[in-house]
Symmetry: C2
Subunit: 195 residues, 2 copies
DNA sequence: CCTACCGATCGGTAGG
DNA sequence: CCTACCGATCGGTAGG
């Protein structure tokens, strides 16, 4: 159990912030309760366990990423357009849900089974969806040939660096960020290598 | 104190593996000792504290990254060549020291002051060195104009995805990986955007 | 929503 | 290198 009203959503929101900043193990139920101004045991009236919070965040995030990816890909039949849209959706999600994406990437090991396998499967599904766009672009002669896989990984890494290296001091709005990354992405796969 | 002989290196090596897999907080001194077949208190004959292990790993890693970067950049005056060399060195280090890089990226928050500020400074220095290459390439008219900053972040993210998304199932040797990423990198900044 | 409390585990020390 | 042990903190329960 993890959802039973607004109180439960507040707990999840506090958990999101703290898990992202200090990590799952670095966050205690007491820390989460403190954000809401209550005591740790009171949390258990709303959530089943600390694991439930982590599971809800990770599963929801991966499912949301897959959903917005599929939506983005549906905008066109052209692989280049699909790529632009997919990168846009990916970066936009990362900009608006930075905490969740960080948690989803960092806390796989602290997620108990069977949820861990479930999230791993969702990850694989997401990676495959990206790979499919690039592969099809190559097959149709629109993208340059290998290294397809490395290009795919690089594309999926776009925006991650924002949380890793930048202090978000780019001076760009989220939408500018989204557009510029999308352009960068197509330029990565669209053109032949120059000597 | 963190180094006093081979025993100390063995402890550091065990810590590297465990910190990377389970995280700093997810690893106990008992876990580390178990790898060496001894009891947790015995570790304190060789290392000062658990924090010392984390600090040694993170500081050494960032200093090594900066050192190989400077060495790589020195190969040429041409920004494109420098970029190729820098990406090569970066990806090569990530392939051969995957654990350390993961720790350096993930455990900043669990590193106590003043080491945390020290590592943050090293990070900034490393990021600035990358930025400098890209900036100079743009100034000299060899690279396409902005988004310079996003391109830099993307370049620095190359290879990270290997640990994040791939199960290292690319079927490439480390050196092939290095070369292909380097080519990908120059293609990212070298050419004008296509409509 | 609270206090009181549980068993387990943690990093680290004492003392040999 | 060990055993024995410390104070602190953890997730979670009981019982109201």
């Amino acid at each position: 159990m993890v959802a039973d009203g607004t109180r439960s959503r507040d707990i999840l929101e506090a958990a999101r912030t703290l898990f992202a900043e200090r990590g799952y193990l670095g966050t205690s139920m007491k820390d989460i309760a403190a954000v809401l101004g209550i005591r740790a045991p009171s949390l258990y009236n709303h959530v089943g366990s600390k694991q439930d919070l982590l599971r809800a965040i990770m599963v929801d995030t991966m499912e949301a990423l897959i959903a917005i990816h599929e939506e983005a890909v549906a905008v066109s039949e052209d692989p280049a357009e699909q790529l632009r849209a997919a990168v846009g959706a990916h970066v936009r999600y990362q900009a608006t849900h930075a905490h969740d994406v960080k948690i989803a990437n960092a806390e796989i090991w602290h997620l108990d089974e069977p949820a861990r396998s479930q999230v791993r499967d969702l990850r694989r599904r997401y990676a495959r969806a990206w790979r499919d766009i690039v592969d099809r672009g190559v097959q149709e002669g629109r993208f340059r040939t290998p290294p397809t896989q490395l290009a795919t990984f690089t594309l999926m890494g776009m925006g991650v660096s924002l949380g890793n290296w930048a202090t978000s001091e780019t001076g760009l709005t989220d939408e500018e960020l989204v557009e510029q990354y999308a352009e960068l992405a197509v330029s990565l796969v669209l053109q032949p290598v120059a000597g």
